[in-house]
């Protein structure tokens, strides 16, 4: 039995329908109506995605590749809308729709009092649609459509609280930085079209061999191999979308958006689009050692150096954001050593535990009445037990503790890098190894600062009206829109004005923190389960069993995972073996250091910070990347724009073309007006001149 086209169309369109209903008729159907239609839409998509995955896994259905609709035809270029569904796609579909579904549910609690409730649901459903179009595409153009659409929704959601200047700054930044990546991506697509004469995946992949020996002169007269040019350009797109150094700067700032979208878009799904894309294009990337080395080095750099920044962050969401950057770096490294399955596997496990960590952080933020600074937390475990335990599970998975999901994926990546002989693999091996220690350090630091140790906040509540007066604390977040940057501020109206003053002093809370409502904790639990287990059950087939089939293509000499597969003797054995491996020991070291510093001797943190002040400053300033970009690109751009405006727009266009042509017309007209003198003999003279003109013209033509 083949996959049904109508099922696939339903999967893609159900979230779109939900988004349109909630977006256009949000006022009519109300808050409950909005979240019902969108959850229903995404729920249908999720259920059908699981069904499709099941059909493919059980062998009931063959891979699906079919055009559905001709988008446009221009000359020889035929672009259609179509679906290519194999196991890689189906897995992505399940991850996307599952996380999206949980985030939808979670949002009910998180955004409960927000005036933009319907708009938010519309956006996240629209995002789900866009992401599905991206992963289900069977051609580059539709991929690009999805690519841009998720970028657009990301932009809209980062700036969801559009009255908050920092959010607007962040969404503009994300948009601009992604333009850089997308420019490369578009050039890459153009290069594919140029060299392979098709935008269809299957055709392009089949004819990838034709790239051998072809070259293109880009700049400086040096001829580059076509495959390398295509690979690097496409990967530049991935660098923007998946926030790889040096295009990573937008992701930390994107935390200005509401936490649910940080979990959905900026951790679990959209940022992994770049990883997915490279894995999908593996037949093309396999053609170029150079491009893969480039990917490897970029990924390794991202994995280590962004992780280091995570150690010095105090905003709970930013710690996780840097952690996301670092983990994306790990995935990219895996791509770079041709371990595409490893990258996609890590993508999947990471989607679960990182979404869990973000939603957990969101739960903490709710509990702390929209306080995000970990320096004012501590000891929350007794207030929020469910959040506490699930966050621990997520962190253990992230740190790579054996048996947890993250262990299998991360360990495989590290070993694959160790096996690889590609240029840059040595550097990458060092980076991913050191990254393990760093990951462990910031993960446990976050846990200790948030849930353990002394409470660093005070409750100065108005005891006259306790919780009952406000419903559950989760939905009472009355922070004004002009609150401190970095705070997850709701664009609330002044419904609860009496809360305003208490929030100007960090660390003072109106009410004691409390556990979040069930719509928040249930998604946490549902994400904790795969974070714990999914690696154990899927590592064998997905990583070593050729599960992806022909979806991922690896040249024989690059097959590092194949090498590893020979030493793989089941998930349990691998985990037990993991306890005596270097990565685990490094993670353990990170755990111990974090425990000593942040749990037992908090004073130590400050003295270390003083002792290592220069390093701390480098990390705190994030290597001054933002400052450099701002000075060169932003200011330079403004200067260039001003120069163009003055020189080009004001002088040439307005001055010469507009005013100039107008005054020219004016002059001609007033000259012509003078000819229209009113004297009869002038008129007759003009007629005679006309006659002579015609005769003369005829004469010239006749002679010539």
């Amino acid at each position: 039995m083949d996959l049904s086209l109508s099922v696939l169309i339903t999967i893609a369109l159900a979230p779109l329908v939900g988004a349109l209903l909630a977006g256009l008729f949000g006022r009519v159907i109300g808050r409950v109506g909005s979240h019902c239609v969108t959850i229903l839409g995404v729920g249908i998509a999720c259920a059908l995605s699981i069904h499709v995955l099941w059909q493919l896994v059980s062998g009931d259905a063959k891979n699906f590749n079919q055009d559905v609709y001709t988008w446009f035809q221009a000359g020889n270029l035929h672009v259609s809308v179509g679906f290519m569904v194999d196991r890689l796609t189906a897995m992505m579909m399940v991850v996307v729709t599952f996380v999206s579904l949980l985030v939808h549910v979670y949002t009910i609690g998180y955004m409960a009092d927000d005036p933009g409730y319907q708009r938010f649901f519309s956006y996240i459903s629209l995002f789900t649609f866009s992401m599905l179009m991206l992963v289900m595409s069977n051609n580059f153009m539709q991929l690009f459509f999805g690519w841009e659409a998720v970028g657009l929704v990301s932009y809209l959601l980062i700036g969801f609280w559009y009255k908050k200047p920092t959010a607007i700054y962040a969404n503009l930044k994300a948009f601009v930085v992604n333009r850089v990546g997308d420019f490369g991506f578009l050039l890459g697509i153009a290069a594919v079209l140029y060299f392979l004469n098709t935008l269809d995946y299957a055709t392009a992949f089949d004819s990838a061999g034709a790239l051998t020996g072809r070259a293109i002169t880009v700049v400086g007269g040096h001829a580059w191999p076509a495959a390398t040019v295509i690979g690097v350009l496409l990967f530049i797109g991935a660098m923007g979308k998946s926030a790889q150094v040096p295009l990573h700067v937008w992701l930390p700032d994107s935390m200005e958006g509401p936490t649910p979208i940080s979990a959905l878009i900026h951790a679990a799904t959209m940022v992994t689009a770049g990883i997915f894309m490279v894995a999908r294009m593996s037949p093309l990337f396999e053609m170029s050692e150079g491009a893969l080395s480039f990917i490897l080095v970029i990924g390794a750099t991202t994995a280590l150096f962004t992780g280091l920044i995570g150690i010095v962050q105090n905003d709970i969401k930013r710690v996780i954001a840097y952690s996301t950057l670092s983990q994306l770096g790990y995935m990219t490294v895996a791509l770079g050593v041709s371990a595409y399955s490893g990258a996609v596997f890590h993508l999947m496990t990471h989607a679960f535990f990182k979404a869990l960590l973000f939603l957990g952080a969101g739960s903490v933020i709710i509990g702390m009445h929209h306080e995000q600074d970990m320096r004012y937390m501590g000891g929350l475990r007794k207030y929020m037990p469910v959040t506490w335990i699930t966050m621990w599970i997520g962190s253990l998975a992230l740190a790579g503790t054996p048996f947890f999901a993250g262990f299998y994926s991360k360990d495989a990546i590290i070993e694959a890098v160790g096996e690889s002989h590609r240029w840059g693999a040595g550097y990458a091996y060092f980076c991913v190894m050191a990254g393990v220690f760093v990951t462990s350090l910031y993960s446990f630091r976050l846990l200790y600062m948030t849930f353990h140790g002394a409470e660093r906040f005070t409750v100065v509540g108005h005891h006259g009206h306790g919780h009952a007066a406000h419903g559950h604390a989760a939905v009472v977040g009355g922070q004004s829109i002009h609150s401190d940057p970095g705070h997850d501020a709701h664009g609330h109206d002044a419904a609860d004005e009496h809360k305003e003053d208490s929030h100007h002093t960090p660390g003072e809370l109106e009410h004691a923190p409390s556990e979040s409502p069930w719509v928040v904790t249930v998604p946490l639990i549902l994400l904790a389960i795969p974070s714990l287990l999914i690696g154990f059950f899927t590592v064998g087939p997905m990583l070593y069993g050729g599960w992806f089939g022909k979806a991922i293509h690896v040249e024989e000499q690059n097959n590092v995972l194949g090498e590893l597969a020979r030493d793989f003797h089941g998930a349990t054995a691998a985990a037990l073996h993991g306890f005596i491996q270097l990565p685990f020991l490094l993670a353990l070291a990170g755990f111990i250091v974090a425990t000593v510093i942040y749990l037992f001797k908090p004073a130590l943190a400050d003295s270390i910070k003083r002792a290592l002040h220069p390093i701390w400053r480098v990390l705190d300033k994030k290597y001054w990347v933002d400052e450099v970009y701002f000075a060169i690109f932003a200011k330079g751009g403004v200067k260039l724009g001003r120069a163009f405006w003055r020189g080009g727009d004001a002088a040439v266009i307005d001055g010469v073309l507009i005013d100039g042509s107008a005054s020219l017309v004016e002059r001609i007209a007033s000259g012509g007006r003078r000819l229209q003198s009113g004297f009869l003999y002038h008129y007759a003279f003009a007629m005679i001149l006309g006659l002579i003109l015609l005769l003369g013209g005829y004469w010239l033509v006749g002679q010539g």
């Binding site: 007209a669 012509g672 007006r673 229209q676 009869l680 007759a684 007629m687 006309g690 015609l694 005769l695």
Partner: protein, 480 residues
């Protein structure tokens, strides 16, 4: 000897001649209030004339008086629209004439004679008939322009028109004599088929002079100088005639002379027409920009429109002629509505012809402001109005003729032209009325009704332009 059959072919013209004489007599005997009968009678005469033209139309072209007079589908369409636009003009003009004490009887009779001239002209089968029709038309027109005898402007315009018209007429006649000298024939069909190599230069001189005559009648630059002064100086009730039926006549004359007679020299004359077209487009559009008087603006607009019409003629084949004819009709109907609005706004002692008079019209007469907007958009060639498709078709035929550069010039000037048409719209909708003026439409019900129909027809024919264009194409033997 002419037979009865010859006169049967001539029936609409003969009928109109008799009717015009009757109206002239009635004018002499009727007094004061009774003269309103002349008004309605004239309109009925025109409509019956149109009916006679259509009803008696033979299936194929027939000719009478030894080929001097041709009755073919081209003539049919041109006559019908000449008669209809003239009827529109009569409806629009009544109040205007009455307010200014202009002799209505003479106006109707002279116009009817001019219309007969048009009908003879567009049916001409020989050089003599062309000249006969043309002179009947222009001589009546000179008198019409001078109809407002108390106005110095009107008299001045008439003199200019007369002198320049005589000059052009002389040139045309001179050209005709050369053509006759070269071909020994006055019959257009014979001239077309004469193979006369040794006298080719003489023949081409004749062609050039004929084109001067045509250019003058069309008002194409550089033979346009009379147009602004006459448009402005003539009573608006007469200007409308020069701007509508006469344009249709000019197209008919161009077609008869250039195609029916001089078709063998198309290669030479189409280049000349292209030059005239460019000059007309440039002068018409550029000078219209600086005009403050609406009638003068419409005069320059006419010049530019004749440039567009010439774009259709340069293709020199049935496709081009049908596009040009469609253009002439669309222009005539649009221009009729434009002058109709000026007439509707004018009243005793006040000529509503400055653009400033239209300031804030939307606040006082929103319906007329809307109609004027339709007219301006149609003149400018804004889709989906009538004028747009006219422009589209002539540009298309210029491209088909291989004159791509000419089409580009046309398109550029169409954009420039947009400026002054839209300025009128802007003045009506966005400017405040000038203090102390109270320009309103006359409460003349037939005028209001017919004018509304006329302006709305621009929209209707813009949306459903197919049938009319198909009619034009059939007339030139193109079957879709």
């Amino acid at each position: 000897m002419p037979t009865f059959n010859d006169f049967l072919i001539l029936l609409p013209e003969a009928y109109l001649t008799v009717a015009a004489c009757v109206i002239l007599l009635m004018d002499a005997f009727l007094k004061g209030g009774q003269r309103v009968a002349i008004h309605w009678l004239s309109i009925i005469v025109l409509l019956v004339g149109a009916w006679l033209v259509i009803d008696g139309q033979p299936a194929t072209a027939v000719s009478g008086f030894s080929g001097m007079f041709i009755r073919d589908p081209v003539a049919e369409i041109l006559k019908v629209f000449s008669l209809l636009t003239t009827a529109l003009m009569f409806i629009y003009s009544r109040g205007y004439l009455r307010d200014r004490n202009i002799n209505e009887g003479e106006y109707y009779a002279l116009t009817l004679f001019a219309v007969i001239g048009i009908m003879v002209l567009v049916s001409a089968g020989s050089l003599v008939t062309v000249y006969l029709g043309l002179e009947l038309l222009t001589l009546s027109s000179y008198a019409l322009v001078a109809l407002n005898r108390d106005s110095k402007l009107s008299s001045e315009a008439a003199i200019k028109y007369f002198v320049l018209g005589a000059l052009a007429s002389g040139m045309l006649l001179y050209g005709m004599s050369m053509i006759y000298g070269a071909t020994h024939s006055l019959d257009l069909a014979t001239i077309l088929h004469v193979q006369n190599v040794e006298w080719r230069n003489l023949m081409l001189f004749g062609v050039v002079f004929a084109i001067v005559g045509i250019g003058f009648k069309l008002g194409a630059a550089p033979f346009h100088m009379w147009i602004p002064d006459v448009y402005q100086g003539a009573p608006t009730a007469v200007t409308i005639f020069i701007g509508t039926a006469q344009k249709i006549a000019a197209f008919g004359m161009a077609y008869r002379l250039l195609d029916s007679g001089l078709g063998a020299y198309a290669h030479e004359w189409r280049m000349m027409l292209a030059v005239l077209a460019v000059l007309s487009l440039a002068i018409g559009n550029l000078l219209a920009i600086v005009q403050t008087n609406l009638k003068r603006l419409l005069a320059y607009s006419t010049i530019s429109h004749m440039g567009f019409l010439l774009l259709g003629l340069v293709e020199a084949n049935p496709a081009g002629y049908s596009a040009a004819m469609f253009y002439a009709i669309s222009y005539a109907l649009t221009s009729a509505a434009a002058f109709g609005i000026i007439l509707a706004m004018s009243r005793a002692g006040f000529e509503c012809e400055e653009i400033d008079d239209f300031k804030g019209l939307n606040q006082r007469s929103p319906w007329f402001a809307f109609l004027m907007m339709l007219v301006m958009f149609s003149l400018a060639g804004v889709p989906p109005l009538f004028g747009f498709f006219g422009k589209l078709l002539v540009l298309q035929s210029a491209i088909d003729a291989g004159f791509l550069w000419l089409a580009v010039v046309g398109a550029v000037f169409a954009i420039i032209g947009l400026y002054y048409y839209l300025r009128v719209v802007k003045v009506m909708y966005f400017d405040a009325p000038v203090e102390g003026t109270d320009v309103r439409a006359q409460p003349d019900m037939p005028l209001r009704f017919v004018l509304s129909l006329n302006a709305l027809a621009l929209l209707a024919l813009g949306i459903a332009w197919g049938p009319l264009f198909a009619w034009c194409q059939r007339a030139f033997g193109i079957t879709a």
